[in-house]
């Protein structure tokens, strides 16, 4: 693999730029990605999770309709992880607002972090995120019976009162990097670092990889004429791309004025 070190606008080394392409034509809305994410990342559950406004799901599947009546109605699912916005030069909407530097933009991977032990729960980042990708721990996490045994040591469980979000399964990157280092390699192969949702997706609708690497699948897919991103016009510069052959779905990905043409 060719080693690519791009100089970012602020002089940061951009080694990788991890991102996702989600094929909405293939996505069946089955929800496996949500649960794969929860079980991978030690996200707890409560007895009643039906109030979706206080229910943590790093990966959440939104349901969108074309707004038409029977029988012309159409439905599409939008799986929504954290977009790991790059903004302009790494200024994601949430990063610069955090008063305690509990979240940052990693220029080497393009991943927006969240450090639970630093966060004190002011929720300013949640107000900043238009995707609702950030979740607050309203309750103490409880794992009933022996569920505590199923906790992964790779991801630190969160205490009540802090904000959490999708990390692109960054611990898997760390794992892959350890493995590569142990074998004397510096570069991580595409298949070595995949997020839990990508791996689980039974429809292979989620593709993950380095958006800067021409050999990765995402590099090509993001250039598809059917590709779009959510709320691109806000300037969030997200790293999650969506594909859909249905034009109403592509239009549903962003806001447009009446009569304005969409992509």
């Amino acid at each position: 693999m060719k080693e690519e070190h791009k100089e970012g606008a602020h002089g940061h080394k951009e080694k990788y730029k991890y991102g996702m392409v989600i094929d909405l034509d293939k996505c069946t809305g089955c929800g496996a990605c949500m649960v794969a994410c929860m079980t991978e990342n030690n996200v707890p559950f409560r007895k009643d999770e039906s109030n979706k406004l206080v229910s943590t799901a790093w990966m959440r599947v939104f349901k969108a309709t074309n707004g038409k009546s029977y029988p012309d109605i159409d439905v599409c699912y939008f799986p929504r992880p954290c977009m790991h916005c790059e903004g302009e030069h790494g200024h994601a909407p949430c990063v610069s607002v955090c008063p305690a530097t509990a979240t940052d933009y990693n220029y080497e991977t393009g991943i927006v972090s969240q450090i639970y032990t630093r966060c004190f729960g002011c929720r300013y980042c949640m107000a900043a995120c238009p995707y609702h990708a950030r979740y607050f721990n309203w309750w103490d996490p409880v794992w009933p019976d022996k569920m505590e045994k199923a906790l992964s040591p790779d991801v630190s469980p969160r205490m009540r009162g802090v904000v959490e979000k999708c990390s692109f399964c960054f611990h898997r990157f760390q794992r892959a990097r350890d493995h590569a280092y142990a074998e004397g390699r510096r570069e991580i192969r595409e298949d070595e670092y995949q997020t839990a949702c990508t791996q689980a997706c039974p429809a292979d609708a989620i593709i993950f990889g380095d958006l800067n690497n021409p050999e990765h699948k995402v590099y090509k897919l993001k250039k598809s004429p059917y590709a779009f991103r959510l709320l691109e016009r806000l300037g969030t510069n997200p790293k999650v791309y969506y594909l859909s052959t249905r034009s109403w779905v592509r239009r549903a990905g962003d806001n447009y004025l009446a009569g304005e043409r969409s992509k």
Binding site: C30, M38, S50, Y70, R118, A150, Q199, T245
Partner: protein
């Protein structure tokens, strides 16, 4: 100012200066900062998961019959994650929502932690802990006694499935014991196997070559809502989507509601509920009339297409005559609510398509379809000649394993086995059917059974929850004086048992997994113990062997030391492959050629099911032997029940014997479940007609029962239809599951297929009345 005061001040000043230049405040600040970061809550402390060596164990998931390969990530002895096994022929790395949540089955609530004996009244929840040896000896004493009394045939077993070594062990137990009453829970596979036996003469399941099909005509099958082996179908669907972009594939979903399958399909055909067979025959009409069928196949390898004459010289009606006469697009349009032009266009498309495939089995396929309905849909595949072809259908044989030594039946056993089955399967009433769970409640509650059942063993099934007309089933089963459950979890059925002999969960035991429904190649999977048993449970196979050894007079049939050696012996030469790969696939399998493919007396594919006649079903109407649409008469009069209720089956809610883990409930939308209220979907037009608004509380009444629901308006439901989600409304298990919503089976009754006797209720008549 006094000296003392000034001195004190100076002392303080000095102390202040000293403290500042000592580490005390700074170190304290730092420590408090660390403490506040790692402060993990009072009184609930957030756990720190211990680290350790990672082990990956391969196994096969048995939470549904899908047979996906899984790889379980372990940290030392803890299983921390279930993932799809890369390279597995069924799921190749993918995993469904239930599989990935599977650790809840192991570590979560409601596990039965050891053998239990009922202490209070039935269903009261009072139990006495009992040792395994005591439990087995008490149960075998009871069963020995029944046997001695000459009532061996009154012992029944309800099993979730009938294929695989564990169900076969139960069957063997009954055979040696002297009871014909091995009953497996029904599914659409039952009808399909029956259909194949009649039309192709084979004891086999239908294999759908979805991966290679390019025009998929789905008659209500929830292809991406959990039908068949779910991950495998998802993967096929993704392949269709890739081809569809290039214009090379098309999926048409025929269903009254815009399900996920319908939404992802290229075309949704909203049909009147329950009229799929009519539409299939309408398509057949167009195909036959326009001579678009595969002439070679139909003329040379089919029987009963044209009229035929029997040995007595009587002329019988063929499919062609019947379809052309009875199912013109006009008639079908009237029945199905689909326009004539659409019927004609779809029929032409299907017939013209490269590798077309018609699929049946509504929703997840948990309710059987009518036999003639299956024949009608399957006939479409026949007409286009895709039987045993790439992208078509095939009769998939069972993987051959080493046969067990014959059952040593004594006189009691032989006498018992000669008794008719309680459920009337295989009797004169329903000669072609093997097992009829749905007949139980009717026969028992009316006292019309040939005899009364005195004991019941339940494994891998939860009839108190999953059966239609839940109340009637509960009443019937409650009347059996002795029930033994082998469940790992405190499900509704275990709750009503007298003994619970908890079995290991899927991650704690060996088990073979037979070819899942609908798959296109014969395969066998091996589920393996991934972790040591968490509780004092036992492999169900070992329990059955132990029972067999201790019930008087049948021990000779149970010669194995334990289940593992039995399994190894049964798998024979395949064992090493199973241990190594986790599955054994019949690599050399290919469907038979047309000339040798049919085991019917005619050696041909039979549109006209002569097998029914041979089995003793006599009718003067030839239509009774042919694919046909016979309207299902739902209970209740349309006046008081103006709406039609259909179930919504979704991957996000497990509605079978394996209950929904809380992770799944968490993903369910608040328009399905809010607090403890279930939502039914209705078209806004229907809602307006009944004065219901979004979220309104209403009474959903059917002839079977009535439940309180809330309404969710959804444009994707046909007007006049109410759709209710399945998989909610448990009354057992733990607080994370029970009391949430309503069990759809409380309001869906049973409808008997006239030929097979299976319950084919795809819905119910219903009314929806708002409560203010």
């Amino acid at each position: 100012m006094s000296l003392g005061r000034r001195g004190f001040l100076q002392f303080c000043l000095g102390a202040g200066a000293g403290i500042t230049f000592s580490p005390l405040p700074w170190k304290l600040m730092d420590d408090i900062s660390i403490w506040s970061q790692t402060f993990r809550g009072i009184p609930i402390e957030v756990p720190v998961p211990p680290v350790g060596e990672v082990n990956i164990e391969k196994s096969v998931c048995t939470l549904c019959p899908g047979g996906c390969g899984i790889s379980v990530r372990k940290i030392k002895n803890r299983a921390v994650k279930i993932e799809g096994a890369e390279g597995h022929p069924i799921n190749d790395g993918g995993i469904c929502i239930l599989g990935v949540a599977g650790l809840y089955q192991l570590y979560g609530g409601a596990r039965v932690k050891g053998p239990l004996k009922r202490a209070g009244n039935r269903g009261e929840g009072k139990w006495e802990e009992i040792s395994w040896s005591a439990a087995i000896s008490e149960i075998s004493k009871k069963l020995s006694q029944i046997r001695r009394n000459g009532s061996a045939h009154t012992v029944a077993c309800i099993s979730g499935k009938d294929r695989g070594t564990v169900p076969q062990l139960f069957k063997r137990l009954l055979t040696a014991y002297g009871s014909p009453n091995f009953i497996s829970m029904p599914s659409s596979e039952d009808t399909e196997r029956l259909g194949l036996k009649l039309m192709q003469g084979e004891d086999a399941s239908v294999g759908y070559d979805l991966e290679n099909a390019r025009y998929i005509l789905s008659f209500g099958s929830g292809l991406i809502d959990g039908w068949g082996s779910p991950v495998r179908v998802f993967r096929a669907n993704s392949a269709w989507r890739e081809e569809a972009v290039k214009g090379l594939a098309k999926v048409v979903q025929i269903e009254p509601r815009l399900s996920n399958t319908a939404a992802k399909a290229d075309r949704w055909v909203p049909i009147a509920p329950g009229t799929e067979a009519a539409l299939a025959l309408g398509f057949a009409h167009v195909i036959i009339k326009e001579r678009r069928y595969n002439k070679n196949f139909v003329m040379n390898h089919c029987f009963g297409f044209e009229d035929w004459t029997d040995n007595s010289g009587k002329v019988h009606k063929g499919l062609k005559r019947m379809v052309l006469k009875d199912y013109s697009p006009d008639v079908v349009s009237e029945i199905t609510g689909i326009s004539v032009s659409k019927i004609v266009a779809l029929a032409r498309e299907f017939a013209r398509a490269k590798r077309p495939l018609a699929v049946c089995g509504r929703g997840k396929g948990s309710t059987p379809e009518g036999l003639q309905e299956f024949m009608a849909i399957y006939a479409l595949n026949t007409l286009v000649g895709n039987i045993n072809k790439t992208g078509g259908v095939r009769a998939l044989p069972e993987v051959r394993t080493t046969a067990w030594p014959g059952v040593a039946q004594d006189a009691i056993a032989k006498r018992g086995m000669n008794q008719p089955r309680f459920d009337r399967a295989g009797t004169k009433a329903f000669p072609v059917t093997e097992s009829l769970f749905n007949q139980l409640s009717g026969l028992m509650n009316t006292g019309k059974g040939a005899y009364t059942l005195s004991a019941l063993l339940v494994y891998g099934a939860n009839p108190y929850y999953t059966a239609h007309d839940k109340a009637a089933v509960a009443e019937a089963l409650d009347s059996i004086p002795f029930i033994v459950s082998f469940s790992s979890h405190m499900d509704e059925t275990a709750q009503h048992a007298d003994f619970i002999l908890p079995s290991h969960t899927n991650l704690e035991r060996y088990e073979d997994v037979p070819t899942p429904a609908g798959l296109n190649v014969p395969i066998i999977g091996l589920s393996r113990p991934v972790v040591d048993p968490e509780y004092d449970t036992k492999h169900v196979g070992d329990t059955v062997i132990a029972l067999g050894k201790s019930i008087d007079g049948i021990a000779d049939s149970f010669v194995w030391d334990d289940y593992e050696s039995l399994l190894k012996e049964t798998m024979g030469g395949k064992w090493d492959t199973l241990i190594g790969e986790g599955y054994w696939k019949d690599a050399g399998y290919s469907p038979a050629a047309w000339s040798s493919g049919f085991k019917t007396p005619s050696g041909k594919f039979e549109f006209f099911a002569t097998g029914l006649y041979r089995a003793g079903i006599r009718s003067h109407n030839d239509n009774d032997y042919l694919p046909r649409y016979k309207p299902v008469v739902l209970e209740g009069d349309p006046g008081s029940y103006p709406l039609v209720l259909i179930p919504i089956e979704s991957t996000r809610l497990a509605d079978g014997a394996v209950a929904n883990p809380p992770y799944l409930t968490k993903t369910v939308a608040d328009t399905v479940l809010k607090n403890n209220d279930i939502f039914v979907e209705v078209n806004p037009k229907t809602a307006a007609a009944y004065g219901l608004s979004e979220g309104a509380v209403a009474m959903l009444k059917t002839p079977t029962g009535e439940v309180k629901v809330r309404t969710h308006m959804y444009e994707g439901v046909r007007p006049g239809v109410v759709a209710i989600p399945t998989g909610l409304g448990h009354s057992a298990y733990d607080d994370y599951l029970s009391g949430k919503g309503v069990n759809a089976n409380e309001v869906i009754g049973t409808v008997e297929d006239p030929i097979s006797g299976l319950d084919i209720a795809w819905g119910s008549r219903a009314s929806l009345v708002g409560i203010i």
